[in-house]
């Protein structure tokens, strides 16, 4: 291969580029990213950047310029507009870029709420620019409404509370985090908001934003009005696949790849939040929205491009993720599509517990709140190839004392 192009400028793209170089690819390597910054870490954007514990600048993964040292041509501020598979070209605003190998890592962006009109002071959070805007706004001491109690919304609420602000968290579902961890555990984790002084409003969505130019409040579908000077909307993400629509590739909950992340003709691979693939570890087709999965996919896609999809094998992932809220640590690995969930250690009321998700009686996922030791043991075992089904033995689970809850 004379030219490998990686499209995307975040963790999956960075890992792809670094793995290509580490594994001996030494021809032309181009990184095309729409962003103005070299790859930086998103997880701190809702955490330390909003609280002010880190400076209001992009938390770059590597010292500025180090990609250039690795002989990577970095094209920042360049948005890929289309892909021509036959001619092996990518259309950029300033012309075409030919490739012999391509890794697609264009990730995802916040799902818009679609509520109109949308006055000033209503934001979503994905980039450092979003984070800096929200941080400036927080510094003025606003009344904050967060729409959507998923992980990002929860972390924004937590960071705003850390600044002592008045925060209301609005969730259309009956409890927070339903999509991420299911109803029962969502409710357990949602108590963190309440004990930390956030007003949690579940069960009604946003009807409209109030305020002519700047936002002044949020009216909910139940008719109630919450005053607001700052609104942050976190209602999920949509994969960035528009530029691929004319390529003929399969777009289905993101860009569809085969189980080894191969997309087309031995030359095109995909990684990160943009890709859906059959994950053998969960035995279903999924799309990740987690940092670790995106990072590992980046490396895998690079190896699959260099050695071939057969040799690289299937990409299997326990889809580990974590979240930091109110000084607590939430960790999850495995699948939440389950019949039951058992709290096997600790007590949700004390904000310290470990819960196992089961499908047809077999362990498929583990959720932990403030259980660092046990979870590290689990991660080590999963890394060593222990299947999730072995989780009961691993965690030395006895029959659950409290009985199972529906997941």
């Amino acid at each position: 291969m004379k030219t490998v192009v990686v499209v995307g400028g975040s963790v999956a793209a960075l890992r792809a580029v670094e793995t290509l170089r580490r594994d001996g690819y030494d021809d032309r390597l181009v990184l095309v990213s729409e962003e103005a910054h070299e790859p930086y870490d998103r997880p701190p954007l809702s955490k330390h950047i909003l609280t002010g514990e880190l400076p209001a600048t992009a938390p770059l993964y590597r010292p500025a310029g180090s990609l250039l040292d690795a002989q990577v041509e970095v094209r920042l501020g360049a948005r890929a507009l289309a892909l021509d598979l036959q001619r092996r070209r990518i259309l950029l605003p300033d012309g075409e870029l030919a490739y012999d190998g391509l890794i697609i890592a264009t990730g995802a962006r916040p799902r818009p709420l679609g509520t109109q009109p949308c006055p000033e002071g209503v934001h979503t959070l994905r980039t450092i620019d979003d984070a800096v805007t929200i941080r400036r706004s927080l510094e003025a001491g606003p009344k904050v409404v967060v729409v959507g109690a998923g992980f990002i919304g929860a972390e924004v609420a937590s960071s705003a509370r850390a600044r002592g602000l008045d925060v209301t968290l609005v969730e259309a579902a009956v409890s927070p985090l339903v999509r991420a961890v299911g109803g029962a555990m969502g409710e357990a984790l949602g108590r963190l908001h309440i004990v930390n002084g956030v007003k949690l409003r579940c069960g009604s969505g946003v009807d409209r934003f109030l305020g002519a130019r700047r936002v002044e409040g949020v009216r909910l579908t139940d008719g109630s009005v919450i005053p607001a000077d700052l609104v942050v909307v976190g209602v999920g993400v949509v994969p960035n696949t528009e530029w691929l629509l004319s390529s003929g590739l399969t777009i289905e909950n993101g860009l569809r790849a085969d189980p080894s992340l191969h997309v087309h003709g031995g030359t095109v691979f995909a990684a990160g939040d943009v890709v859906s693939w059959y994950n053998g570890s969960l035995a279903r087709t999924v799309r990740g929205e987690q940092w670790t999965t995106a990072a590992e996919q980046g490396s895998h896609a690079a190896r699959a491009l260099l050695r071939g999809p057969q040799a690289a094998g299937h990409f299997r992932s326990s889809m580990y993720f974590w979240s930091d809220q109110y000084g607590a640590k939430i960790q999850f690995a495995g699948d939440t599509v389950a019949d039951t969930v058992d709290v096997i250690d600790g007590d949700p009321a004390e904000h310290r517990f470990l819960a196992v998700y089961r499908r047809s009686g077999r362990g498929v996922g583990v959720l932990a709140l403030n259980q660092p030791k046990t979870f590290s043991r689990l991660l080590r075992a999963l890394d060593a190839g222990t299947p999730m089904e072995g989780v009961d033995d691993l965690l030395q689970v006895r029959a659950p004392a409290a009985g199972s809850l529906p997941a």
Partner: protein, 73 residues
């Protein structure tokens, strides 16, 4: 001699660099992509070390103060 002992389990480090951002005198990310404890770590102030350890995505940093493990959570 410092009272603080720092361990970093590279087996589960995911190379996020959180530790290096929050406590740059104590942790760095090596070319391998994994984090390492720097020589300046034992003299980094304890609050900063605790913040870095708590923020580590995989909780692979453990801290001991005068032989006792510091409970992070």
């Amino acid at each position: 001699m410092s009272d603080i002992k720092i361990d970093l389990d590279r087996g589960i480090c995911c190379g996020s660099g959180m530790c290096a951002s929050l406590a740059p005198t104590a942790f760095g990310v090596e070319a391998s992509g994994l984090a390492a404890v720097l020589p300046g770590a034992p003299t980094t102030d304890l609050d900063t070390l605790v913040k870095a350890a708590k923020s580590c995505p995989t909780l692979c940093i453990t801290l001991h103060h005068r032989g006792e493990e510091i409970e992070l959570f």
